[in-house]
Symmetry: C2
Subunit: 210 residues, 2 copies
Amino acid sequence: MDKQRHQVIIADDHPILLKGLHEFLADLGLEVIGAFHNGKDALDAIVDSQPPLAILDLEMPEMTGLEVAADCKKLGLKTRVILLTLHKELKFYQQAKELNISGYILKEFALNDLRKAIDTVLSGQEFFSEKLFEGLKKEDCLSDHSLTPSELKILRLIADGHSTKEIAEQLFISERTVDKHRSNIISKLNLEKKHNSLLIWAQNNKENLY
Amino acid sequence: MDKQRHQVIIADDHPILLKGLHEFLADLGLEVIGAFHNGKDALDAIVDSQPPLAILDLEMPEMTGLEVAADCKKLGLKTRVILLTLHKELKFYQQAKELNISGYILKEFALNDLRKAIDTVLSGQEFFSEKLFEGLKKEDCLSDHSLTPSELKILRLIADGHSTKEIAEQLFISERTVDKHRSNIISKLNLEKKHNSLLIWAQNNKENLY
DNA sequence: CTGAAAATAGGTATTTCTACGTATTGTTAG
DNA sequence: CTAACAATACGTAGAAATACCTATTTTCAG
């Protein structure tokens, strides 16, 4: 770790976690110039002080970590953002890649991983934990079934509780087409030949659909 | 806070949180004699040292906080257990009440709340945060609709993905009866008059059904 | 360019879910 | 006790989901 006193702003809505993070960063020799329990306050502080690094919880009241990062990018700040999260969900990861997120760490990771991430990001590189990707591959049941884009689109609408008719209207295609897609999806997912099995599956796996 | 050096064992699978908790307890003057990232190790340590207090995460690998508490009770240990959790779900709270859990705190609570909880529990009383109860009342959508026991039973089976026929067979009643119950449930819950609306509702609210 | 895969659309039939009735039997609180 | 409620059961009907077909048009890689 660089011995300079790098400044950092942190935010997490869980006080215990915020304290743990604060202490940990202090141990590493970083100077925590702000610790907040919501995204809005953190953003204000980041805009004021423009520190080289901000470590933010993904899920926070007022503003999420992603939203804060988006605003930082919009404002052209040089502050690098590492996101902390409980979830290794693909959708967040994809959103993160589109913004100026420099790192993405799961809260359950060892402190060592966090230290590595901070080193990497402060040196100007990106850090996306390998475990994060492993997890994605394993948890993304969709990748195994090679659903087509249309099938995936329809699956998401089913997960949102839409009926075949609604889906057809929304996508400007025939109900029969939707039927066919449903049928294909059921085959690919190897679902029971039972009523509503697709709906039930979609409802239970909606988190993995993005 | 009592100035005695009370001993305490802690466990949480999130390292940052574990560190935060450790530091916080140290600040309070407690002696943390063990910090673990899974329930099993924590239980072993509790059995060995029998401290007056253990603060455990509800969700951990190997053993959950509840399971550790259950074993402590089974072994007749005098160690009091405070559970930390992210979730204010009714079922966990109810389980907690049945065991020798002395406290139940949401992780998002202020450190002050945690301090109060520790004081209370170490003085021999129970601490279940008021906010926890508030949350329960509001989140428990079922209590508002006064579903009958049969209706609730059927609703749970629907949430488990069972069809009317399966439910009828399982409960030894006619399909028509199940139909009628479904109909009544839909009325009470004020659901849309749309196909599968009950199924979708049940799938999305299965956590609140116990 | 050509062939494979995907998306589109339709037909027919079955099963399931739901609505909206009625009606009988227990149970239980006032 | 009795009136209200819950649980039970049945009928009819329509909407929706699914299965199992065929068939055309697009798209895209080799």
